[in-house]
Symmetry: none
Subunit: 401 residues, 2 copies
């Protein structure tokens, strides 16, 4: 695979348009009663039509056998090798709450916790306080001012919060304050490299001040921080692919991942049809659209086979709305498999179909795991989907002379 | 592919069990009379059943077009990239004679040779002395004591021997004493790096002393050494995969390769059924079993097509004994191809099938080169077999969040 800088050398801006439809957790496992996966069970004439007209294959988001999280699964589909480009836990936490993270920011995940008179943690989750209480306490903690960085303290849910430090030359390479078990005190945060001293100092200062602020808020009388990480500072899709890219996603995490690669995030509603409305409304404004459908993954995680089938059928019903726009390239795939039988993300490869006027279509007539295994694209890393999409949009020049 | 340290971060210890059955030199070429390979000719209903229930593909041990030796072929199946992790000739020689090589040891292959009165080599093989004579002379040479290292001189076969140096901070990066042709004298061993000075000194001292010991043993009146190499100090399978791994192999070389990655080697008998007995006896003691069948390779090397077919049928008859144990994951493959028509290892990819409850089986109904080429695993490097086996055993956590 070419490096991003090499792709950039080949990428050209043209009026052609690409739509990347990501069906989260798309791949499944066969229902033991029928021998058919969720996708094979669903009645999906429109997906099957795209597969018939397009070229199909199976993608591995990371590599064979590796179960991807949402971040590597999406970065790969955006064209970024997910082994080379990683997103830390703290950053992911703030993406999930729609916090507008900036390049250079350092983020940590946190818990409100209970400490006793000796300063030892007696409950790592502060009795799972309500989200309302959490919000109120985060607002108090936001009053803390630090020397050398702007501080954001943002509620997540129940006892969970996120802390963001914004300043110059921050390096996130520091240890956790969370001791990960009760009976120990919050740990001093230690820099793992000399450059990280400033972040360690800021975080320790924040912890000291937070303890004072929370002193009278038992059971939430302290915070524990972990997973300090930095905005991954990825080259943007505009830089690499020369695309004016937009994201349509109902869930914050995926809007956040799209923002990490510089996509413009479009406002959309909570339903599947809302996302298709948004695509139609903004179709003339961009040359690349990432559309994200979450519910296939959530129903898979719930182990609800038939609900996942229904979501797939709902997507299929909406699909003609994309076809009517006649994008030059339509890519349909998933960020990973989420088989209802496993109730979790899995390592199984994911069907992909790429339709364009120039795709050299294959014999596959059905968008399914079994059929796409015989597709002419073969089995390949998800990070090669974007070069294929770009090529089919006639946006990639010749490599070498 | 992830690095081993990254796999380690994901690996979890669970009670599930993996059996890796390696059929040495499994792949073949079609008999011109029938158009069928050895595996396609053999009547193998049980292998076909596993292929039907499992997911199939073709593996390249090193990469397309590269014919692997036994070491890279096996390291790849154990999950170690054979381009990154190599085993030197001296080390391989001592593995083949069941010598208990330790981390830090330096080993060289050697020949007894004949030198004339001027000290020039007149016969590099000392008239191919008998193994008995070799054993007697090695015993005499073992009396040599060296300053700074323990010495082992071990007979191999006919004129061949191995020399092992055991000491602190030994570095094997030295030249050969073997001039590789007659008419020249044994060469002074030269260090290729300053750190290797100690090994060069030890080896030269040994050569001088050996010449004195052997003075009256014409034609075996000198030794030539080559292929100095070091225990490769591989991370163990316990370290990387958190597996308690056992090896069942009738031949020393494969026991040795298994020991290099920290497997416990189980005592077994010389026959194929003996290995299956051993598996059954020890099945409760380990969570990973590497079983090695040699005779498919030896019959292939002999160019004996029908004998290779027979060995495959013998394996097939024993296979239900594994199935009865109901391992969570069963992997069947080979370390390389050994087509009887070529009478040697070859570059042809090797069929693989992985069976587990979670494998998402494909359309392949026969364990053969032709059928597995259409398998949903596609064609991939052997080193990805272990991540797949681990995933299917539900022993790998999610990569990234």
């Amino acid at each position: 695979m070419l490096r991003l800088e090499q792709i950039r050398d080949l990428a050209t801006q043209t009026p052609s348009k690409i739509v990347l439809l990501v069906i989260d957790g798309l791949g499944g496992l066969p229902n033991p009663d029928t021998g058919k996966t969720e996708l094979e069970t669903a009645h999906t004439p429109n997906l099957d039509q795209v597969a018939s007209l397009g070229i199909c294959g199976m993608v591995d988001p990371v590599s064979r056998g590796i179960t991807p999280g949402s971040a590597p699964g999406h970065l790969a589909l955006f064209g970024y090798n997910p082994i080379e480009f990683t997103v830390g836990r703290g950053i992911l936490e703030v993406l999930g709450i729609d916090f507008d993270i900036k390049r250079g920011d350092v983020a940590a995940r946190g818990n409100f916790c209970t400490i006793d008179n000796n300063g030892l943690v007696v409950d790592r989750r502060a009795g799972r306080i309500s989200t309302e209480k959490n919000t109120e306490l985060c607002s108090e903690l936001s009053g803390i001012t630090l020397d050398g960085a702007k501080l954001f303290v943002v509620p997540v849910k129940e006892h969970r919060l996120a802390v963001i430090f914004r300043g110059y030359e921050l390096v996130a390479d520091v240890s956790d304050s969370d001791p990960q078990k009760e009976g120990l005190g919050p740990q001093t945060i230690i820099p793992h490299s000399p450059q990280a001293q400033k972040v360690a100092d800021l975080a320790n200062e924040f912890a000291t001040r937070a303890k004072a602020v929370l002193a009278n808020h038992h059971p939430a009388n302290m915070v524990l921080l972990r997973g300090f990480s930095q905005h991954p500072d990825l080259p943007t899709m505009e830089y690499v692919f020369k695309l004016n890219a937009a994201a349509i996603a109902a869930y914050p995490m995926y809007r956040g991942l799209a923002k990490l690669v510089g996509m413009r995030v479009l406002d959309t509603g909570p339903g599947i049809s809302d996302e298709f409305d948004t695509l139609t409304q903004h179709y003339s404004d961009h040359d690349f659209f990432f559309m994200h459908i979450k519910k296939t993954d959530s129903t898979g995680e719930d182990g609800n086979f038939s609900a996942k089938v229904q979501v797939l059928e709902e997507i299929d019903e909406q699909l003609p709305r994309i076809l009517k726009l006649e994008p030059d390239v339509l890519v349909i795939s998933g960020d990973h498999s989420t088989p209802a039988l496993l109730k979790s993300h899995s390592w199984h490869p994911v069907p992909v179909t790429i339709y364009s006027k120039w795709c050299r279509h294959d014999q596959v007539r059905e968008f399914s795991e079994s059929a796409c295994s015989f597709g002419a694209l073969g089995r390949f890393p998800s990070a090669e989907v974007m070069p294929l999409a770009m090529a089919n949009a006639l946006k990639l020049a010749k490599f070498g002379a």
